[in-house]
């Protein structure tokens, strides 16, 4: 359960990037895009983020049934905190 706040912060970190890049893309495409295109672009941005986060997220949620898994999960958490500057 110690890793839960890290999951939240990592989600927020990725979402900020996703929204910023999506807005840049939409402004390049102009106003006259179809609903279908809008949706495809949104799905693209979510698809990439979700699939990239899948591994790290999964490794933040190993149930601590044996001690090796628990300590590894905490190491993963520390590494993610460092690499994405999530502590602040």
């Amino acid at each position: 359960l110690e890793t839960v706040p890290t999951i939240k912060k990592l989600r927020a970190y990725a979402e900020r990037i996703r929204v910023a890049e999506l807005e840049k893309c939409l402004s390049k495409m102009g106003d006259d895009i179809s609903k279908k295109t809008r949706r495809a672009v949104d799905d693209l941005s979510r698809g990439i983020v979700n699939k990239l986060l899948h591994g790290p997220m999964q490794h933040l949620r190993c149930d601590g049934s044996d001690s090796r898994t628990l300590s590894e999960t905490l190491e993963n958490m520390h590494a993610l905190n460092r690499m994405f500057s999530l502590e602040t």
Partner: protein, 147 residues
């Protein structure tokens, strides 16, 4: 008799709203609105629309106009939930995101569920309920690889 049906739907909607059951309230108000439009009863139509508006506090008042098109409704519900969450109205945000889960099941279009599970978990994390948060994050993570 149809007018009575309409009135009982409005009453049921209000009850569900009071008992914090947004999904059922949504269904009642939605069919009341349709019925009132069929009966060309502007007063009752306004009541049904007001019920939907109440349900959708932070949401643009246009929600009920497009609620029959799930591809439009879903992002609006997710946005409303996110905006409630930013305002710190966490319980209400959870209700909105749960509504997405409930309705998406009925609509057979579950692509927004990943986001809904994640957002609900975020709210529980902010509320300090890490057990519940972990439960919803697990559902979120399980969906990250699907489309």
């Amino acid at each position: 008799p149809r007018k009575e049906e309409l009135i009982s739907q409005l009453k049921a909607g209000k009850n569900f709203l009071r008992n914090q059951d947004p999904e059922k309230a949504f269904v009642e108000f939605k069919s009341a609105l349709e019925l009132a439009q069929n009966l060309k009863d502007p007063i009752e139509e306004k009541k049904a629309a007001r019920g939907l508006d109440e349900l959708d506090i932070a949401c643009p008042a246009t929600l009920h106009k497009c609620m029959f098109d799930w591809s439009l409704t879903e992002p609006k519900l997710l946005n409303s939930g996110a905006s409630l969450q930013r305002q710190g109205k966490l319980q209400e945000a959870i209700k909105y995101h749960s509504l997405v889960l409930a309705l998406s099941k009925r609509e057979g279009e579950e692509s927004g569920n990943t986001e809904a599970y994640g957002a609900i978990a975020d709210c529980y994390t902010e509320l300090g309920d890490l057990e519940q948060a972990a439960k919803f994050y697990d559902k979120y993570i399980a969906r990250l690889e699907t489309d």
